[in-house]
């Protein structure tokens, strides 16, 4: 069944090894922590950034898959690509002029940009603001067990300025530090509304691309800070109706990830965790797709 006919929720598990999955600007870029439980956090916007980057990387130049909110690399800056202009004047209809224009503009943005169509966007016209709610809603990811961020001191065999070199009398070294989470398994939840998908034109192929991005985005996001990050599980619940067949919280409870008995400090997804999907208690009218 297509995305316009069925509500979707998903559980997404990913892990990090010796890296910092999401730094906290309030705490000197230490990995984010829930201060009450010591569980690690990764914000929704951090995950969305990676999805955007993945789509930009894999779909660059494809019509309808532009990314509006970009990061450093603008791969296609030099390529001038032509698109069929969609004149505003053509179809005013009965709507008031301003409103009609705003709608045209919003619709064109949805058609052109994958991220606008998926996550929504805010556009302004003076005091008026055309706003698109995207069908995809992501939560903060939380680690399944308390994490202990480690501060690792590192040295560099060079200094930045001549003055510094002089001060250190030829012993040209600087020290820096980085934070790592030795190991953390994180869990995020997602919701996709078919009604909003219809409104923004988010299609089945967009959905497929979105899931591909979740599955593969860490492969394209390697850096010194991130360490080893990997998507581990993506369990999709597909309802057979647009309004859904069961409360989302009930479905999320069907997927459990536990640390195996006897493991005090988990360090590996395969060796230290058991993930179970309770298919027996799956409500009628909901299908499970285990994508990862």
């Amino acid at each position: 069944m297509g995305i316009h006919e069925s509500r979707i929720e998903f559980v997404y598990l990913f892990d990090v090894r010796n890296g910092n999955p999401n730094g906290d600007p309030d705490a000197g870029n230490m990995p984010r922590l829930d201060p009450e439980t010591s569980k690690g956090l990764v914000t929704d916007v951090s995950l969305k950034r990676k999805i955007r980057n993945f789509v930009e990387l894999t779909q660059s130049g494809q019509k309808g898959y532009e990314i509006y909110v970009r990061e450093k690399a603008i791969l296609n800056d030099q390529h001038a690509r032509a698109y069929e202009a969609n004149g505003i004047a053509s179809e005013k209809g009965k709507l008031p002029k301003g409103e009609g224009d705003a709608r045209k503009v919003t619709q064109w943005m949805c058609e052109t940009f994958f991220d606008v169509r998926t996550f929504g966007a805010v556009m302004t016209t003076g005091v008026n603001c055309g706003q698109v709610r995207g069908p995809v809603q992501l939560t903060f990811a939380e680690s399944l067990h308390p994490i202990v961020p480690m501060e690792v001191s590192v040295t560099r065999m060079a200094v930045t300025t001549a003055a510094e070199a002089e001060k250190q009398q030829g012993d040209n070294r600087t020290m820096g530090r980085k934070y790592i989470v030795p190991y953390g398994l994180y869990r995020a939840h997602g919701f996709i509304s078919p009604h909003l998908a219809r409104q923004t034109g988010f299609s089945d192929s967009d959905l497929e691309l979105f899931f591909k991005a979740l599955e593969n985005m860490f492969e394209q996001d390697r850096s010194a800070t991130r360490g080893e990050m990997a998507a581990r599980k993506l369990v999709v619940f597909r309802h057979k109706s647009p309004l859904g067949e069961a409360p989302a919280q009930k479905l999320f409870k069907l997927v459990t990830a536990r640390v195996k008995d006897g493991v005090t400090a988990p360090r590996s997804f395969d060796d230290d965790f058991t993930v179970t999907i309770d298919r027996d208690n799956l409500p009628a009218g909901v299908e499970i797709e285990e994508r990862l």
């Binding site: 990314i67 409103e99 045209k104 706003q131 809603q137 309004l243």
Partner: protein
């Protein structure tokens, strides 16, 4: 007035931003009637009805946590979109997230649990087929089955709200003594949205008026005055 409904909503984060602290979001102590109305509307709403929040039961202690995030500073300028549409070239239509950056802290609520008591009134946009019974049935059926138009949220979409239709008595609250009876100060009741053309969708502008009311928790319950109540100020 039609029969009321009770909905229990729970979640691990919430942010009901105070309008007076907008740049770095600070949440109100409890859910606003406006946000509660949004939650009900995410389950069922038609132009024929308008949700009215009567009471909010606060079941868990009020507790805050701060989260700082990188956010972009600008919105999409429509003029740029229009020129890209005209020329058919989108090369220059983008926003550089790393150069147009604001770091903003949000003071969020943690671990919230409310029971919303509400009813709906029929509006002047109700057609001949609309009757209160039908809408009440639809809402109750959807809420009981966990169905929704879109997943309801606590103030922002990254904080989803789990919902359960509540038919049992309201459970006792777990608020500490200093929170059970608490003056919450002036709080947003809702925004009186100005409608220029019914059925054409809505875009907020300067003609939309925010309404405020003096909020007070009494034994964990926030009683919400009607919009035209004496204590409500715009």
């Amino acid at each position: 007035m039609t029969y009321g409904v009770k909905l229990r909503v729970q979640g691990s984060f919430a942010c009901f931003s105070r309008p007076e602290m907008k740049v770095e979001r600070v949440s109100y102590d409890v859910i606003t009637p406006s946000a509660a109305r949004g939650i009900l509307s995410a389950i069922h709403w038609k132009p024929a009805i308008t949700w009215v929040i009567d009471r909010i039961h606060v079941l868990k202690p009020i507790c805050f946590q701060s989260i700082r995030r990188n956010e972009v500073a600008s919105k999409i300028p429509v003029s740029k979109v229009k020129s890209a549409m005209k020329s058919g070239d989108v090369t220059d239509l983008y926003l550089r997230a790393d150069q147009d950056r604001q770091q903003r802290a949000s003071t969020l609520l943690r671990d919230v649990d409310y029971i919303i008591e509400a009813h709906f009134d029929m509006t002047d946009r109700a057609g001949p087929d609309d009757n209160p019974g039908k809408h009440l049935d639809t809402f109750n059926r959807r809420a009981a089955a966990g169905q929704c138009f879109q997943q309801p949220c606590f103030g922002a979409r990254e904080f989803p709200a789990d919902f359960t239709l509540w038919t049992e008595p309201v459970p006792p609250h777990a608020l500490p003594d200093d929170q059970a009876d608490k003056d919450l100060g002036w709080m947003l009741l809702d925004i009186d949205h100005h409608r220029d053309a019914p059925g054409q969708g809505h875009r907020c502008d300067a003609r939309c008026v925010p309404l405020f009311f003096p909020a007070r928790l009494a034994k964990g319950v926030l009683t919400v005055p009607p919009r035209d109540g004496q204590e409500v100020r715009s």
